[in-house]
Symmetry: C2
Subunit: 445 residues, 2 copies
Amino acid sequence: MDMEWIQANLLAQTPSCAQLAADAARNRPVTLHGQIQTLRRLGDVVFVVLRLRDGLLQCVLDNPDRLDAARLLREEAAVKVSGTLLPEMRAPGGCELHITELELISLPGQPRPLPLNRKSNGMSLDAQLNWRPLMLRHQDQRDRFRIQAELCRAMRDFLHREGFTEIHTPKLVSAGAEGGSNIFRLDYFGQAAFLAQSPQVYKQTMVGVYERVFEVGPVFRAEKHNTVRHLNEYTSLDFEMGFIDSFRAIMGMETAMLRSAWLELAEVCQPELERLKLDLAPPGPIPAVRFADAKRQIQERTGWRSRDPNDLEPEEERLIGLWAQETYGSDWVFITHYPTTKRPFYAMDDPEDPRVTLSFDLLYRGIEVTTGGQRIHDYDQQVAKMRQRGLDPEAFATYLMAHAYGLPPHGGLGIGLERLQMALTRAANIRQAALFPRDMKRLTP
Amino acid sequence: MDMEWIQANLLAQTPSCAQLAADAARNRPVTLHGQIQTLRRLGDVVFVVLRLRDGLLQCVLDNPDRLDAARLLREEAAVKVSGTLLPEMRAPGGCELHITELELISLPGQPRPLPLNRKSNGMSLDAQLNWRPLMLRHQDQRDRFRIQAELCRAMRDFLHREGFTEIHTPKLVSAGAEGGSNIFRLDYFGQAAFLAQSPQVYKQTMVGVYERVFEVGPVFRAEKHNTVRHLNEYTSLDFEMGFIDSFRAIMGMETAMLRSAWLELAEVCQPELERLKLDLAPPGPIPAVRFADAKRQIQERTGWRSRDPNDLEPEEERLIGLWAQETYGSDWVFITHYPTTKRPFYAMDDPEDPRVTLSFDLLYRGIEVTTGGQRIHDYDQQVAKMRQRGLDPEAFATYLMAHAYGLPPHGGLGIGLERLQMALTRAANIRQAALFPRDMKRLTP
């Protein structure tokens, strides 16, 4: 019988581009692999730009005829190259590899129909999304989603340090938490099931278990919006914390989290941020204004006539963002005390004015990136608010179990990861901040 | 206009139980908050066991009549207490708080119908799951899911160190990747959509972008299994890596990841592991045997008559687990070279014997916790295998874009987080390893 032992074994990583630049200063010989981003032949020299996991590396192949593999080279081929790294200020990353050995590892089945060396290729966003698997190989795209990954990691690391426990809660649910008809429905072995619009009921339940919890996962909204800032599936970072003394504690925690993430990003994503020409000033302190005041302010300053006195339209959010920037020099602004009628049944009303809730949105560069607030923790109060809204507490029996058997005062928030990345990277459309976006018309790729 | 500045502000965490034990050695005065797990009055003394975020703390209140709040105390009340910590070997965590001040923060709406101080309360698993929001407050449950959270974190941190980029891919998809009818279907604005059975097509696509990627997220299987090891929604940790020289590289990477996670868990979850009486020997090296050999071995040793020559039944996996333990002293065993007929269209056939694939499962204590393998990276080869299976390559056009425009040799795996936790914590039923499990009959809580 064949049997072998599998050792814990790390396949060596390709060095990072920063490491390569350091190696170049010492004229180090290196061997590495990657796919060919661009290929140019100039007389007897071949210039190969190699796509490494975190950047591009210019390589030069002199006298290509001496190598058999060189004849077969083409864009998107996977290759292994050996040679000497030399500093070269004109090359991306500041170094250049002089190839001495070349091994062809795999070849594409078809020639690449699009170049990857210009920014937009003049394509419409829709066409770019149709070609997404290929377009994501563009350095600009790779940088954007490296930033997304590091942003997510930095926020998660912060929450871990602050004593939050990570949870995984079901996306197949028996009822919606956010109300309304914006919910996907499906057949679940003969029962009606829905796709979770948020982990709201579960994260509140888990406050009674771990005091502080968070989750990063998909949420689903069957909204019939076709705008530059809506997706029908997005990644939500949710946290919920117990024993708060005010809903300001949640805003304080978010400010601290964003500040920590921004400081970390500026360090770990320095090359990406430079290439995208993005400045990252760490947020905080962040101005907070009441919903009614913000609304009045915009009306007075711009003459904007609001169609909905109880909510903010995207254009109003944009105007508030501009106003916060001008008045307080801040890209960020908390809007607090949203009207009770526009917040879900679990939102806690302000004891000083029950027409408004102890809730907030956070706007970043005029775009809503967070909704949060304090929740009702008292059982009788929650049951009463449900009844007042015509909801049957019986239908929420397992949710109310947490309240019935005790919850501390608590609150939390949900951050749309794509919204945050969109505003951070100054993308014009949220579809540019999702690897494979889902909208009313788009279910592929 | 009201306006205030929100500072980056961390609401102080309750100290960890380890920190409290250290404070006790110095007779430190402390103030902390928690919910009351159990309450016992013995004459003029009240014993309060407080539920803190990571453990329990015994508190003693002498002469309770001197404090107004003491009369209102009940189980599951949220309280803030001040006092002096003293070492007490008989108390959980080795210390005890002598309460001098007590503040009642919130009260439960109803008396708790179940005690939380005995292990199973004699309830059936089904009843326990119905009471899940409350039962999760049991220390045993809290320990299990703290382990899950730390396990997930340790694996993610490992992947980050090894140069993997985290991705978020859609769960609403236009076609299934794993084949078969085990897929949930829903209406998506008039189109037919499905819930992703795995991020397979996306993670392969992303190998062409970042070389190494991973995702942790929900996957959905409409399997009509009602067994102790199946869930219809579970959390999958998927990774995929390019430029592999053999499918063994994936097994080597997994072994390294598990080893790293086990070593980290033993440290950060020491209290949880001790309370659950779990031993954690770090895995590796791990024996690997071929599918056909493992099958023959079990038949010869136990007389087991397999009903399916091309797959392993759960009972066979259990027997293989026992055999690996006896023969190699290993809780873990890789089964390699699964029959081609049982693996999906993207699996790479063994060039030495196309009846089997360069694929593997990993069994841990006789339970399948991972499926992985090398994938086809060549475009023509992938199209041919699809045609051979009666699949229309046109229907996979955006998936095949990655192959058409070049992919390096690559492979990866999916780990069922609940399966891994189930085996690690020696749970008899996978429902004990999901916070809110979903099975054919269960959609609540």
